[in-house]
Amino acid sequence: MAKDLTMTNKINRRAFLKTSGGVTLFIGASGVLPVLVSCQDDKKIRAQLKKVPITAWVQLWEDGQMIIYNPAAEMGQGSMTSLPIIFAEEMDADWSKVQVEFSPQEADIYGGEGWAPGTKLMFTVGSRTTHSYYHVMRKAGAQARYVLLNTAANHWKVPIEELNAAQSFVIHEKSGQKISFGELVPVLTMPTALPDFTEDQLKNPKDFQLIGKNIPRTEIPAKVNGTAQFAIDVRLPDMVYGALERGKLHGARPTLLNESEILAHAGVMKIVQFDYAIGLIASTLKGVLDAKKLLKIDWSTATSSGYHSQEIYSEYEAIAAKKSQGAVITEIGNMGEALRSAHKTYTADFKNDYVYHAQIEPLNAVIQVSEDLQTAEVWVGSQQGGDTKLGVPGVLGVPPENVNVHLQYLGGGFGRRSMTDFVVECAILAKEIAPLPLKLVWTREDDVAYGAYRPLSLQRLKATVDARGQLTGLSHTVIGDGGNLVASGVKNDHYDIPNQLADWRETTHGIRLKHWRSVGHGPNKFAIESLLDTIAFDQSVDPVALRRTLMAQSPKALATLEKAVAMSRWDVPSIDGRAKGVAFVEHGSIGTGICEISLDRATGTINVHHFWIALDAGVIIQPDNVKAQMEGGIIMGMSSVLKEQITIVDGQVQQSNFHDYSLLRMQEVPDSIETAFIPSSEKPEGVGETATPMVAGAIANAFLQLTGKHLRHLPFTPDRVLAVLNN
């Protein structure tokens, strides 16, 4: 441990909460004690102590067992393991003695790095969890270790500098003494101050014992024996059920035509009018869903009335052709000059239909509002943390501390559970029926029709090359609704292109939109990577060679390219009827993906056989889990690229369930998805959204190699593939 630790934070005896046989170390997120340091308002921690007598980052028992608290939502990305591993690494804890539980939803105590410096946030979005909690968890773990070392120093009456720790033991090499963390519990003493560990006072990554090892995920046993609890599984005494009919025209206002018939239906307790829906409360789930089917509703028109999604592209093309720029997202050099002086200009449009999240657990929540309507208990799977209490305080008109959120496992997030629309709906219904607890269930049909989609968009790209064929400029115009939802991913930080201009031109159709895994990176990387191969194809240049030139200034990017080339044996031609395609993506972490496909020319079906990914994500906390994220990202990418499509006719969403919104199934998976990591000791970067945007470009580029034709409209459904082949 480094010397000269700055003793900044005062401690008092409240640092320990003695419980039967155990002790809790209140090691705060960015300081020492949440109660004294991390919290602006120490009432919060007092209230938290009152509610949950054991809380903070770690709880230790005399037998050495410990609980480490995970502050992030667990939606399959592995936070329930990766964050506690980081903590345990710096604490020098014996992992076999660690159990993991969700932390309370209190951002002031358990928040990670917020969007702005010095702020805190519990918000599991943007693949930021590991990145934003890396230092928080390391420091908190080091502070827990310091408390134990300090205790042992007092116990043995030796200087703390002579002590070390390993595997849940404190060791004094000089005297050959050794004591377990658990044995220190009865004699635990609190230092007068705790060091505010900085990066260089923490472990050197080469000394990591847990980070970088394949440690099984802590919550998987519960997910294979049926006991893992999702919000939809919560059952409470006297619980009633809620459902809403929201129609298929986003924003339309309902007029209920058969109120008395519905109220007479068995079990129906209440009808609740929403601006955009009719809400029902009934004593059983079947009762509420049956009554929902009987609703006769007259729907008003809405902004989206008259909107036809598949006919809008000609309008988008006209917007793209306008001389006036939209909002400039990035500008490097002088694109206008690049166009004027270009030896040759390549122009292409890329189109992207709406896609839907399709998390397999439909939206739901359980809320119990107290009889006086002043407090609420909320059970929910949410990507949002405690900051907002998910909109429930607003519904009740009470302060946030009156609302207690019990975070459950998420049956998929993908961005959809960063919204709180379903929680607010549940609170409104629960308030109506207080103090009975209410479970709100969205049917799959509700979840599809009232989804919040990745926006439809058109990308018009123009690339200029000089007389030597070198890329001199790239203009990237995005047309669509939703700002960053369509515009993210247009920057090319790792490609050396001297003149670049990207702008966003706004449209609006009244369709609900939201972040969908990788957000704008999906459509925009598809466009960029496809255009690069268009140029390479035209110049009869190897697409990899073209990228090598562009990556000359980015050794990190180039390393992923070279690794993927080696893994995929890029230079060895595929067997007859197959071809490979490459795409590069940065989304926090950076990576190159290469796929190999074949094509059924009779049906237009694209078969993806292999995917190879080389990834630079900084320090890899759990290698196998990062591989799982790559596999999942590719499969979800393939699903969206080959199959998924929401269409709108006269404002009405046309799909309703998995029979008409197709997801990739088992028989369509590749033979293999292989991932390799570029070794790194840099801070971990997010990995959840890097693979998905590789897929469209890689497949389109392989298709170009195979057929000489361009796929430029997502999804690449068989009918579209046939149309391109036969054109």
Partner: protein, 157 residues
């Protein structure tokens, strides 16, 4: 409301629910056997897969009154005492689930396959599992887990 007696996980349950209630709602909301999940309600996703007389069925599609003849219903909760069925062990070994929501159904579907066919080919596994959706994209690990379980040649199959 009518009363029904169900044989689930070798235990007899009496329930009083409206006729037409699906087996899935009875399991989940009335009996608290929440391992089987609701995903689509139309038999398209397989999250609700349970066994009826060892056959994998989609519990969302079957009304409760069809279970009057004492059929043996098995849910994920009844698959093993301690979550140690060979297929469950293989699932952990392969670190198959991500969000995990669909995996009770995936496991029940896989167990039914291995009970009928101890050594399925990869294509047979894919065909048998094609009705179970996984949005997290864990399909390759599910394949691995099933192949691992088949190799153990456990006597329970």
């Amino acid at each position: 409301m009518p009363k029904y007696t169900l044989n689930i996980n070798k235990t007899s349950y009496d329930v009083e629910v409206a006729a037409g209630t699906s087996l899935l709602w009875v399991l989940r909301e009335d009996l608290g056997l929440t391992g089987a999940k609701y995903g689509c309600g139309i038999g398209q996703c397989g999250a609700c897969t349970v066994h009826v007389d060892k056959q994998p069925i989609k519990a969302c599609l079957l009304p409760i009154e069809q279970f009057t003849a004492g059929q043996e219903i098995t849910t994920i909760e009844g698959l093993s005492e301690d979550g140690d069925h060979p297929v469950q062990k293989a699932w952990i070994e392969a670190q198959a689930p991500q969000c995990g929501y669909c995996h009770s159904g995936q496991i029940m579907q896989a167990v039914a396959l291995l009970e009928q066919n101890e050594h399925p080919t990869r294509d047979e596994i894919k065909a048998h599992m094609n009705g179970n959706l996984c949005r997290c994209g864990t399909y390759l690990r599910i394949l691995t887990a099933i192949e691992m379980a088949a190799k153990t040649k456990a006597p329970t199959f």
